[in-house]
Protein backbone atom coordinates (compact mmCIF):
# COMPACT_ATOMS: atom_id res chain seq x y z
CA UNK A 1 0.00 0.00 0.00
CA UNK A 2 1.21 3.49 -0.80
CA UNK A 3 2.43 5.66 2.03
CA UNK A 4 2.98 9.37 1.89
CA UNK A 5 5.87 11.33 3.37
CA UNK A 6 6.65 15.00 3.91
CA UNK A 7 7.73 15.53 0.31
CA UNK A 8 4.38 14.18 -0.89
CA UNK A 9 2.60 16.72 1.31
CA UNK A 10 4.73 19.53 -0.07
CA UNK A 11 3.71 18.40 -3.55
CA UNK A 12 0.06 18.41 -2.48
CA UNK A 13 0.24 22.00 -1.21
CA UNK A 14 1.99 22.96 -4.44
CA UNK A 15 -0.80 21.36 -6.50
CA UNK A 16 -3.45 23.18 -4.43
CA UNK A 17 -1.63 26.49 -4.86
CA UNK A 18 -1.45 26.01 -8.63
CA UNK A 19 -5.13 25.06 -8.81
CA UNK A 20 -6.20 28.11 -6.76
CA UNK A 21 -4.10 30.34 -9.00
CA UNK A 22 -5.94 29.02 -12.05
CA UNK A 23 -9.34 29.43 -10.37
CA UNK A 24 -8.63 32.75 -8.61
CA UNK A 25 -10.70 35.06 -10.79
CA UNK A 26 -13.50 32.51 -11.13
CA UNK A 27 -13.78 32.21 -7.34
CA UNK A 28 -13.71 35.98 -6.88
CA UNK A 29 -16.49 36.33 -9.45
CA UNK A 30 -18.60 33.74 -7.58
CA UNK A 31 -18.02 35.74 -4.39
CA UNK A 32 -18.92 39.00 -6.12
CA UNK A 33 -22.44 37.70 -6.69
CA UNK A 34 -23.24 37.04 -3.02
CA UNK A 35 -20.30 38.44 -1.02
CA UNK A 36 -17.50 40.94 -1.22
CA UNK A 37 -15.70 39.55 -4.26
CA UNK A 38 -12.35 38.72 -2.69
CA UNK A 39 -12.52 34.97 -2.06
CA UNK A 40 -10.29 33.95 -4.98
CA UNK A 41 -7.76 36.67 -4.18
CA UNK A 42 -7.69 35.71 -0.50
CA UNK A 43 -7.22 32.00 -1.21
CA UNK A 44 -4.51 32.86 -3.73
CA UNK A 45 -2.60 35.05 -1.26
CA UNK A 46 -2.76 32.27 1.34
CA UNK A 47 -1.71 29.33 -0.78
CA UNK A 48 0.97 31.31 -2.62
CA UNK A 49 2.48 32.15 0.78
CA UNK A 50 2.28 28.49 1.85
CA UNK A 51 3.87 27.33 -1.40
CA UNK A 52 6.75 29.79 -0.98
CA UNK A 53 7.45 28.90 2.66
CA UNK A 54 7.27 25.15 2.02
CA UNK A 55 9.64 25.43 -0.94
CA UNK A 56 12.25 26.93 1.40
CA UNK A 57 11.61 25.38 4.79
CA UNK A 58 9.90 22.02 4.36
CA UNK A 59 12.75 19.66 3.66
CA UNK A 60 13.05 16.82 6.17
CA UNK A 61 9.83 17.64 7.97
CA UNK A 62 7.03 15.20 8.79
CA UNK A 63 3.56 15.55 7.26
CA UNK A 64 2.30 16.88 10.62
CA UNK A 65 5.01 19.55 10.80
CA UNK A 66 4.28 20.59 7.23
CA UNK A 67 0.57 20.96 8.01
CA UNK A 68 1.41 23.09 11.09
CA UNK A 69 3.81 25.28 9.10
CA UNK A 70 1.19 25.67 6.36
CA UNK A 71 -1.44 26.60 8.98
CA UNK A 72 0.62 29.40 10.51
CA UNK A 73 1.72 30.70 7.14
CA UNK A 74 -1.78 30.71 5.72
CA UNK A 75 -3.25 32.45 8.79
CA UNK A 76 -0.72 35.25 8.85
CA UNK A 77 -0.79 35.84 5.11
CA UNK A 78 -4.55 35.98 4.92
CA UNK A 79 -6.54 36.85 8.03
CA UNK A 80 -10.06 37.25 6.60
CA UNK A 81 -12.47 34.47 7.47
CA UNK A 82 -10.75 31.72 5.51
CA UNK A 83 -7.50 32.37 7.44
CA UNK A 84 -8.70 31.14 10.84
CA UNK A 85 -10.87 28.47 9.20
CA UNK A 86 -8.14 26.82 7.10
CA UNK A 87 -5.47 27.46 9.74
CA UNK A 88 -7.59 25.57 12.26
CA UNK A 89 -8.27 22.84 9.70
CA UNK A 90 -4.57 22.39 8.95
CA UNK A 91 -3.58 22.42 12.64
CA UNK A 92 -6.12 19.65 13.26
CA UNK A 93 -4.80 17.79 10.20
CA UNK A 94 -1.30 17.97 11.66
CA UNK A 95 -2.51 16.84 15.07
CA UNK A 96 -4.25 13.83 13.46
CA UNK A 97 -0.94 12.45 12.14
CA UNK A 98 1.42 13.82 14.79
CA UNK A 99 4.75 12.00 15.06
CA UNK A 100 4.32 9.89 11.92
CA UNK A 101 6.97 10.16 9.22
CA UNK A 102 4.77 8.32 6.72
CA UNK A 103 1.00 8.29 6.55
CA UNK A 104 -1.30 5.75 4.91
CA UNK A 105 -4.76 5.75 3.38
CA UNK A 106 -6.55 5.54 6.72
CA UNK A 107 -4.57 8.51 8.03
CA UNK A 108 -5.67 10.56 5.02
CA UNK A 109 -9.31 9.79 5.90
CA UNK A 110 -8.60 10.99 9.44
CA UNK A 111 -6.93 14.14 8.09
CA UNK A 112 -9.97 15.04 5.98
CA UNK A 113 -12.29 14.40 8.94
CA UNK A 114 -10.07 16.45 11.28
CA UNK A 115 -10.04 19.35 8.82
CA UNK A 116 -13.84 19.33 8.58
CA UNK A 117 -14.19 19.22 12.37
CA UNK A 118 -11.73 22.11 12.76
CA UNK A 119 -13.61 24.28 10.27
CA UNK A 120 -16.96 23.55 11.93
CA UNK A 121 -15.51 24.32 15.37
CA UNK A 122 -13.83 27.60 14.39
CA UNK A 123 -16.69 28.89 12.24
CA UNK A 124 -19.41 27.66 14.60
CA UNK A 125 -21.20 26.53 11.45
CA UNK A 126 -23.29 23.49 10.66
CA UNK A 127 -24.24 21.84 7.37
CA UNK A 128 -27.07 23.59 5.57
CA UNK A 129 -25.93 27.16 6.21
CA UNK A 130 -24.42 27.69 2.74
CA UNK A 131 -20.76 27.69 3.78
CA UNK A 132 -17.63 25.64 3.12
CA UNK A 133 -18.92 23.24 5.79
CA UNK A 134 -21.43 22.02 3.21
CA UNK A 135 -18.52 20.63 1.20
CA UNK A 136 -16.20 19.58 4.05
CA UNK A 137 -18.80 17.85 6.24
CA UNK A 138 -20.08 15.34 3.66
CA UNK A 139 -16.51 14.87 2.39
CA UNK A 140 -15.42 13.88 5.90
CA UNK A 141 -18.32 11.45 6.26
CA UNK A 142 -17.52 9.91 2.88
CA UNK A 143 -13.82 9.62 3.70
CA UNK A 144 -14.56 7.91 7.01
CA UNK A 145 -17.12 5.67 5.30
CA UNK A 146 -14.51 4.48 2.80
CA UNK A 147 -11.75 4.25 5.41
CA UNK A 148 -12.09 0.57 6.40
CA UNK A 149 -10.14 -1.34 3.77
CA UNK A 150 -10.35 1.52 1.29
CA UNK A 151 -7.40 2.49 -0.85
CA UNK A 152 -5.99 6.01 -0.82
CA UNK A 153 -7.58 6.52 -4.21
CA UNK A 154 -11.02 5.26 -3.05
CA UNK A 155 -11.03 7.38 0.11
CA UNK A 156 -10.00 10.62 -1.54
CA UNK A 157 -12.29 10.06 -4.53
CA UNK A 158 -15.25 9.44 -2.20
CA UNK A 159 -14.42 12.65 -0.31
CA UNK A 160 -14.07 14.65 -3.52
CA UNK A 161 -17.37 13.34 -4.93
CA UNK A 162 -19.23 14.13 -1.71
CA UNK A 163 -17.56 17.54 -1.48
CA UNK A 164 -18.53 18.41 -5.04
CA UNK A 165 -22.15 17.35 -4.48
CA UNK A 166 -22.21 19.30 -1.22
CA UNK A 167 -20.88 22.44 -2.88
CA UNK A 168 -23.43 22.17 -5.68
CA UNK A 169 -26.22 21.78 -3.13
CA UNK A 170 -25.36 25.18 -1.64
CA UNK A 171 -26.86 26.71 -4.79
CA UNK A 172 -30.37 26.09 -3.50
CA UNK A 173 -29.64 27.16 0.10
CA UNK A 174 -30.42 30.37 1.95
CA UNK A 175 -27.24 31.48 3.74
CA UNK A 176 -27.13 31.20 7.54
CA UNK A 177 -23.55 32.40 8.12
CA UNK A 178 -21.05 34.81 6.62
CA UNK A 179 -21.63 37.96 4.63
CA UNK A 180 -24.24 36.43 2.34
CA UNK A 181 -26.42 35.70 5.40
CA UNK A 182 -27.97 39.15 5.00
CA UNK A 183 -29.22 38.39 1.51
CA UNK A 184 -32.11 36.06 2.30
CA UNK A 185 -33.54 34.59 -0.87
CA UNK A 186 -31.27 36.69 -3.06
CA UNK A 187 -28.40 34.26 -2.44
CA UNK A 188 -30.47 31.31 -3.65
CA UNK A 189 -29.36 30.09 -7.07
CA UNK A 190 -25.70 30.86 -6.40
CA UNK A 191 -23.10 28.39 -5.15
CA UNK A 192 -21.23 29.46 -2.03
CA UNK A 193 -17.67 30.42 -3.07
CA UNK A 194 -16.15 28.91 0.10
CA UNK A 195 -17.87 25.61 -0.63
CA UNK A 196 -16.77 25.81 -4.27
CA UNK A 197 -13.10 26.26 -3.35
CA UNK A 198 -13.39 23.51 -0.73
CA UNK A 199 -14.66 21.11 -3.40
CA UNK A 200 -11.77 22.13 -5.67
CA UNK A 201 -9.27 21.43 -2.87
CA UNK A 202 -10.82 18.02 -2.23
CA UNK A 203 -10.67 17.31 -5.95
CA UNK A 204 -6.99 18.27 -6.03
CA UNK A 205 -6.35 15.94 -3.08
CA UNK A 206 -8.04 13.12 -5.01
CA UNK A 207 -5.95 13.78 -8.13
CA UNK A 208 -2.79 13.95 -6.04
CA UNK A 209 -3.73 10.64 -4.37
CA UNK A 210 -4.49 8.91 -7.67
CA UNK A 211 -1.01 9.80 -8.91
CA UNK A 212 0.48 8.17 -5.82
CA UNK A 213 -1.82 5.18 -5.32
CA UNK A 214 -0.67 1.68 -6.11
Amino acid sequence: MATLNGADFVALFQAIAQMIERERDHLSALDGVIGDGDHGVTMSIGFQAVDKVLANEASGRTPADICMLAAKTFLNAVGASVGPLYATALMRAGAAVKGKSDVGAEDVADIIAAMAAGIEHRGKAEPGQKTMVDAWHPAAEAALGAKAGGSLKDITAAAADAGRAGAEATGSMVAGKGRSANLGDRAVGHIDPGAASAAMILDTIAQWASERAD
Partner: protein, 337 residues
Amino acid sequence: MSPAPKVKKLLNDPDNAVDEMLEGILLAHPDHLVMSDEHHRAIIAKHGPRPGKVGLVIGGGSGHEPTFVGFVGRGLADAAAIGNVFASPPPDPAIACAKAASGGEGVLFMYGNYAGDVMNFDMATEMLAMDDIEARTVLTTDDVAVENLERRRGVAGNFFIFKAAGAACDKMLSFDECERIARKANAHTFTMGVGLTACSLPQTRVPSFELGPEEMEIGLGIHGEPGVRKGPLDTADAVTDEIVDKIFAEMDPEPGEEVAVLVNSLGATPLMELYIVNRRLNQRLKDRDISVHASWVGPYCTSLDMSGMSITLHRLDGELTGLLDHPCDCAMFRAGQ
Protein backbone atom coordinates in the same frame (compact mmCIF):
# COMPACT_ATOMS: atom_id res chain seq x y z
CA MET B 1 -19.94 35.64 -17.60
CA SER B 2 -18.76 38.12 -20.26
CA PRO B 3 -15.24 39.45 -19.70
CA ALA B 4 -15.31 43.02 -18.40
CA PRO B 5 -12.63 45.55 -19.39
CA LYS B 6 -9.98 46.02 -16.69
CA VAL B 7 -10.49 49.01 -14.42
CA LYS B 8 -7.59 51.46 -14.57
CA LYS B 9 -5.64 51.80 -11.31
CA LEU B 10 -2.28 53.27 -10.32
CA LEU B 11 -0.49 50.25 -8.90
CA ASN B 12 2.82 48.48 -8.93
CA ASP B 13 2.60 44.80 -8.04
CA PRO B 14 -1.02 44.56 -6.79
CA ASP B 15 0.05 42.08 -4.10
CA ASN B 16 2.18 44.88 -2.59
CA ALA B 17 -0.59 47.51 -2.69
CA VAL B 18 -1.39 47.47 1.04
CA ASP B 19 2.22 47.55 2.21
CA GLU B 20 3.19 50.25 -0.28
CA MET B 21 0.20 52.33 0.85
CA LEU B 22 1.26 51.95 4.49
CA GLU B 23 4.78 53.00 3.59
CA GLY B 24 3.39 56.14 1.97
CA ILE B 25 1.11 56.86 4.94
CA LEU B 26 3.96 56.56 7.44
CA LEU B 27 6.09 58.92 5.33
CA ALA B 28 3.24 61.45 5.13
CA HIS B 29 2.39 61.39 8.84
CA PRO B 30 5.65 60.97 10.78
CA ASP B 31 4.38 63.13 13.66
CA HIS B 32 1.33 60.92 14.20
CA LEU B 33 2.08 57.34 13.21
CA VAL B 34 4.76 54.74 13.70
CA MET B 35 5.00 51.12 12.60
CA SER B 36 5.17 48.55 15.39
CA ASP B 37 8.53 46.86 15.88
CA GLU B 38 6.68 43.57 16.16
CA HIS B 39 4.53 43.65 13.04
CA HIS B 40 4.57 45.71 9.84
CA ARG B 41 0.76 45.71 9.69
CA ALA B 42 0.39 47.21 13.18
CA ILE B 43 0.31 51.02 13.04
CA ILE B 44 0.65 52.82 16.37
CA ALA B 45 -0.17 56.38 17.48
CA LYS B 46 3.03 58.20 18.33
CA HIS B 47 1.41 60.14 21.18
CA GLY B 48 -1.54 57.91 22.10
CA PRO B 49 -0.68 55.04 24.41
CA ARG B 50 0.33 55.86 27.98
CA PRO B 51 0.38 54.19 31.39
CA GLY B 52 -2.97 54.05 33.18
CA LYS B 53 -4.98 54.56 29.99
CA VAL B 54 -7.25 51.93 28.46
CA GLY B 55 -5.86 51.13 25.02
CA LEU B 56 -8.11 51.40 21.98
CA VAL B 57 -7.22 49.15 19.04
CA ILE B 58 -9.29 49.35 15.88
CA GLY B 59 -8.80 47.43 12.69
CA GLY B 60 -10.09 45.64 9.67
CA GLY B 61 -9.47 45.16 6.01
CA SER B 62 -7.77 47.75 3.83
CA GLY B 63 -9.60 49.64 1.11
CA HIS B 64 -11.70 51.81 3.46
CA GLU B 65 -9.14 54.58 3.99
CA PRO B 66 -9.11 56.85 5.93
CA THR B 67 -10.80 54.13 8.02
CA PHE B 68 -9.02 52.60 9.99
CA VAL B 69 -5.45 53.87 9.99
CA GLY B 70 -6.44 57.51 9.56
CA PHE B 71 -8.21 57.50 12.93
CA VAL B 72 -5.09 56.55 14.86
CA GLY B 73 -3.84 59.40 17.04
CA ARG B 74 -4.04 61.00 20.44
CA GLY B 75 -7.65 61.26 21.61
CA LEU B 76 -8.88 58.53 19.28
CA ALA B 77 -7.42 55.08 18.52
CA ASP B 78 -4.02 54.02 19.87
CA ALA B 79 -3.37 51.56 17.08
CA ALA B 80 -4.86 49.98 13.97
CA ALA B 81 -4.39 46.39 12.79
CA ILE B 82 -4.30 46.37 9.02
CA GLY B 83 -5.62 43.52 6.87
CA ASN B 84 -5.41 42.82 3.17
CA VAL B 85 -7.96 44.54 0.96
CA PHE B 86 -11.43 43.84 2.40
CA ALA B 87 -10.01 41.07 4.57
CA SER B 88 -9.65 40.97 8.34
CA PRO B 89 -6.10 41.20 9.67
CA PRO B 90 -4.77 37.95 11.12
CA PRO B 91 -4.21 37.72 14.89
CA ASP B 92 -0.53 38.75 14.85
CA PRO B 93 -0.94 42.46 13.96
CA ALA B 94 -3.86 42.75 16.40
CA ILE B 95 -1.61 41.32 19.13
CA ALA B 96 1.20 43.74 18.27
CA CYS B 97 -1.30 46.64 18.39
CA ALA B 98 -2.68 45.53 21.75
CA LYS B 99 0.78 45.26 23.27
CA ALA B 100 1.69 48.75 22.04
CA ALA B 101 -1.65 50.23 23.16
CA SER B 102 -1.71 48.59 26.57
CA GLY B 103 -1.26 50.98 29.48
CA GLY B 104 -1.91 48.25 32.02
CA GLU B 105 -5.65 48.92 32.28
CA GLY B 106 -6.90 46.69 29.48
CA VAL B 107 -7.39 47.04 25.75
CA LEU B 108 -10.59 47.55 23.79
CA PHE B 109 -10.80 45.88 20.38
CA MET B 110 -13.29 47.72 18.19
CA TYR B 111 -14.11 46.72 14.64
CA GLY B 112 -17.03 46.04 12.35
CA ASN B 113 -19.16 42.95 12.87
CA TYR B 114 -17.85 40.57 10.19
CA ALA B 115 -17.28 36.83 10.68
CA GLY B 116 -13.60 36.99 9.69
CA ASP B 117 -12.74 39.91 11.96
CA VAL B 118 -14.50 38.24 14.88
CA MET B 119 -12.53 34.99 14.43
CA ASN B 120 -9.14 36.70 14.06
CA PHE B 121 -9.57 39.19 16.90
CA ASP B 122 -10.98 36.44 19.16
CA MET B 123 -7.88 34.33 18.45
CA ALA B 124 -5.77 37.41 19.30
CA THR B 125 -7.71 37.88 22.55
CA GLU B 126 -7.01 34.28 23.58
CA MET B 127 -3.30 34.67 22.82
CA LEU B 128 -3.08 38.02 24.69
CA ALA B 129 -4.60 36.45 27.79
CA MET B 130 -1.46 34.30 28.00
CA ASP B 131 0.56 37.54 28.20
CA ASP B 132 -1.76 38.90 30.93
CA ILE B 133 -3.26 41.57 28.69
CA GLU B 134 -7.04 41.65 28.93
CA ALA B 135 -8.73 42.57 25.66
CA ARG B 136 -12.46 43.12 25.39
CA THR B 137 -14.34 43.44 22.13
CA VAL B 138 -17.02 45.94 21.17
CA LEU B 139 -18.36 45.26 17.69
CA THR B 140 -19.77 48.07 15.59
CA THR B 141 -23.17 47.32 14.07
CA ASP B 142 -24.46 50.64 12.72
CA ASP B 143 -25.77 49.43 9.33
CA VAL B 144 -29.57 49.62 9.64
CA ALA B 145 -29.98 48.12 6.15
CA VAL B 146 -29.62 44.71 7.79
CA GLU B 147 -32.79 43.62 9.62
CA ASN B 148 -31.28 40.86 11.79
CA LEU B 149 -29.65 42.69 14.70
CA GLU B 150 -26.95 40.05 15.27
CA ARG B 151 -25.87 40.26 11.65
CA ARG B 152 -25.70 44.04 11.44
CA ARG B 153 -22.44 45.22 9.91
CA GLY B 154 -20.16 47.98 11.04
CA VAL B 155 -19.94 50.63 8.32
CA ALA B 156 -19.23 54.39 8.13
CA GLY B 157 -20.75 55.05 11.56
CA ASN B 158 -17.54 53.54 12.95
CA PHE B 159 -16.34 57.12 12.76
CA PHE B 160 -18.59 58.30 15.62
CA ILE B 161 -18.35 55.08 17.62
CA PHE B 162 -14.53 55.05 17.60
CA LYS B 163 -14.54 58.80 18.35
CA ALA B 164 -16.63 58.38 21.51
CA ALA B 165 -14.62 55.39 22.72
CA GLY B 166 -11.31 57.08 21.94
CA ALA B 167 -12.34 60.16 23.91
CA ALA B 168 -13.42 58.01 26.87
CA CYS B 169 -10.03 56.25 26.84
CA ASP B 170 -8.18 59.58 26.48
CA LYS B 171 -10.04 60.94 29.54
CA MET B 172 -8.49 58.05 31.48
CA LEU B 173 -11.86 56.53 32.36
CA SER B 174 -11.96 52.99 33.74
CA PHE B 175 -12.03 49.90 31.51
CA ASP B 176 -15.68 49.26 32.41
CA GLU B 177 -16.64 52.86 31.62
CA CYS B 178 -14.79 52.86 28.29
CA GLU B 179 -16.53 49.63 27.31
CA ARG B 180 -19.94 50.96 28.39
CA ILE B 181 -19.45 54.14 26.39
CA ALA B 182 -18.29 52.22 23.32
CA ARG B 183 -21.44 50.07 23.42
CA LYS B 184 -23.64 53.10 24.00
CA ALA B 185 -22.06 55.00 21.08
CA ASN B 186 -22.71 51.99 18.84
CA ALA B 187 -26.36 51.84 19.94
CA HIS B 188 -26.66 55.57 19.16
CA THR B 189 -25.31 55.34 15.60
CA PHE B 190 -27.40 54.63 12.50
CA THR B 191 -26.06 54.30 8.95
CA MET B 192 -27.40 53.34 5.56
CA GLY B 193 -25.80 53.63 2.14
CA VAL B 194 -26.43 53.41 -1.57
CA GLY B 195 -24.11 52.04 -4.25
CA LEU B 196 -24.08 53.43 -7.78
CA THR B 197 -21.18 51.54 -9.39
CA ALA B 198 -19.14 48.60 -8.17
CA CYS B 199 -15.62 48.83 -6.81
CA SER B 200 -12.81 46.61 -8.08
CA LEU B 201 -10.02 44.92 -6.17
CA PRO B 202 -6.39 45.74 -7.01
CA GLN B 203 -5.69 42.08 -7.83
CA THR B 204 -8.61 41.57 -10.21
CA ARG B 205 -9.37 45.06 -11.55
CA VAL B 206 -12.85 43.93 -12.56
CA PRO B 207 -16.07 45.21 -10.94
CA SER B 208 -16.77 42.99 -7.93
CA PHE B 209 -20.53 42.91 -8.51
CA GLU B 210 -22.95 43.70 -11.29
CA LEU B 211 -25.07 46.81 -11.39
CA GLY B 212 -26.76 48.03 -14.56
CA PRO B 213 -25.82 51.39 -16.12
CA GLU B 214 -28.95 53.09 -14.73
CA GLU B 215 -29.23 50.99 -11.58
CA MET B 216 -28.48 51.65 -7.92
CA GLU B 217 -28.36 49.36 -4.90
CA ILE B 218 -29.88 50.63 -1.66
CA GLY B 219 -28.40 49.31 1.57
CA LEU B 220 -25.18 48.06 -0.02
CA GLY B 221 -22.36 47.07 2.35
CA ILE B 222 -18.93 48.72 2.35
CA HIS B 223 -17.37 45.77 0.55
CA GLY B 224 -20.02 45.74 -2.14
CA GLU B 225 -22.13 43.13 -0.37
CA PRO B 226 -25.59 43.23 -1.89
CA GLY B 227 -28.08 45.37 0.00
CA VAL B 228 -31.80 45.70 0.47
CA ARG B 229 -32.97 46.28 -3.08
CA LYS B 230 -31.76 47.09 -6.55
CA GLY B 231 -33.70 49.67 -8.49
CA PRO B 232 -33.47 52.32 -11.17
CA LEU B 233 -31.26 55.27 -10.28
CA ASP B 234 -33.32 58.00 -8.65
CA THR B 235 -32.78 61.67 -7.73
CA ALA B 236 -30.54 62.73 -4.84
CA ASP B 237 -33.58 63.84 -2.85
CA ALA B 238 -35.51 60.61 -3.41
CA VAL B 239 -32.53 58.45 -2.47
CA THR B 240 -31.84 60.59 0.60
CA ASP B 241 -35.49 60.30 1.60
CA GLU B 242 -35.47 56.51 1.32
CA ILE B 243 -32.35 56.27 3.49
CA VAL B 244 -33.56 58.83 6.03
CA ASP B 245 -36.96 57.11 6.30
CA LYS B 246 -35.24 53.85 7.14
CA ILE B 247 -32.94 55.50 9.69
CA PHE B 248 -35.84 57.39 11.33
CA ALA B 249 -37.89 54.18 11.51
CA GLU B 250 -35.02 52.55 13.35
CA MET B 251 -34.05 55.45 15.60
CA ASP B 252 -37.52 56.93 16.24
CA PRO B 253 -36.22 60.39 17.16
CA GLU B 254 -38.17 62.79 19.40
CA PRO B 255 -38.64 66.44 18.43
CA GLY B 256 -35.87 68.56 19.97
CA GLU B 257 -33.19 65.88 19.75
CA GLU B 258 -29.67 66.68 18.63
CA VAL B 259 -27.53 64.63 16.22
CA ALA B 260 -24.16 64.68 14.54
CA VAL B 261 -24.19 63.94 10.82
CA LEU B 262 -21.84 62.10 8.48
CA VAL B 263 -22.45 62.12 4.74
CA ASN B 264 -19.78 59.73 3.53
CA SER B 265 -18.44 59.04 0.04
CA LEU B 266 -17.80 55.38 -0.79
CA GLY B 267 -14.78 56.53 -2.77
CA ALA B 268 -15.72 57.88 -6.17
CA THR B 269 -18.74 60.08 -5.44
CA PRO B 270 -17.65 63.74 -5.41
CA LEU B 271 -18.29 66.36 -2.74
CA MET B 272 -20.82 68.10 -4.99
CA GLU B 273 -23.20 65.15 -4.76
CA LEU B 274 -22.55 64.65 -1.05
CA TYR B 275 -23.48 68.26 -0.31
CA ILE B 276 -26.65 67.92 -2.40
CA VAL B 277 -27.54 64.93 -0.22
CA ASN B 278 -26.65 66.90 2.91
CA ARG B 279 -29.03 69.67 1.84
CA ARG B 280 -31.97 67.27 1.66
CA LEU B 281 -30.88 65.52 4.85
CA ASN B 282 -30.97 68.83 6.73
CA GLN B 283 -34.43 69.62 5.37
CA ARG B 284 -35.67 66.28 6.67
CA LEU B 285 -34.02 66.80 10.06
CA LYS B 286 -35.52 70.27 10.37
CA ASP B 287 -38.97 68.88 9.55
CA ARG B 288 -38.64 66.51 12.52
CA ASP B 289 -37.32 69.33 14.72
CA ILE B 290 -33.91 67.64 15.07
CA SER B 291 -30.91 69.95 15.37
CA VAL B 292 -27.45 69.25 13.99
CA HIS B 293 -24.58 69.68 16.43
CA ALA B 294 -21.82 68.98 13.89
CA SER B 295 -21.47 67.68 10.32
CA TRP B 296 -18.81 65.83 8.39
CA VAL B 297 -19.14 65.52 4.62
CA GLY B 298 -16.52 63.66 2.61
CA PRO B 299 -14.71 60.33 2.27
CA TYR B 300 -14.44 58.88 5.79
CA CYS B 301 -15.14 55.21 5.17
CA THR B 302 -14.62 54.27 1.56
CA SER B 303 -14.99 51.13 -0.46
CA LEU B 304 -12.03 51.50 -2.85
CA ASP B 305 -13.34 53.14 -6.03
CA MET B 306 -17.02 52.47 -5.49
CA SER B 307 -19.38 55.30 -6.25
CA GLY B 308 -22.17 55.87 -3.83
CA MET B 309 -22.57 57.32 -0.38
CA SER B 310 -23.88 56.63 3.08
CA ILE B 311 -25.66 58.75 5.65
CA THR B 312 -24.98 58.33 9.38
CA LEU B 313 -26.86 59.95 12.24
CA HIS B 314 -25.20 59.86 15.65
CA ARG B 315 -27.81 60.46 18.34
CA LEU B 316 -26.34 62.78 20.97
CA ASP B 317 -26.94 63.35 24.64
CA GLY B 318 -24.86 65.30 27.16
CA GLU B 319 -22.32 62.52 27.54
CA LEU B 320 -21.85 61.71 23.83
CA THR B 321 -21.70 65.41 22.87
CA GLY B 322 -18.88 65.92 25.33
CA LEU B 323 -16.99 62.93 23.92
CA LEU B 324 -17.56 64.05 20.32
CA ASP B 325 -16.20 67.52 21.13
CA HIS B 326 -13.20 66.12 23.04
CA PRO B 327 -10.05 66.99 21.07
CA CYS B 328 -8.29 64.41 18.95
CA ASP B 329 -5.31 64.67 16.65
CA CYS B 330 -4.97 61.86 14.13
CA ALA B 331 -3.15 61.42 10.89
CA MET B 332 -6.23 62.06 8.77
CA PHE B 333 -8.72 63.60 11.20
CA ARG B 334 -8.64 66.38 13.80
CA ALA B 335 -11.40 67.63 16.11
CA GLY B 336 -11.78 69.95 19.08
CA GLN B 337 -9.24 72.52 20.15
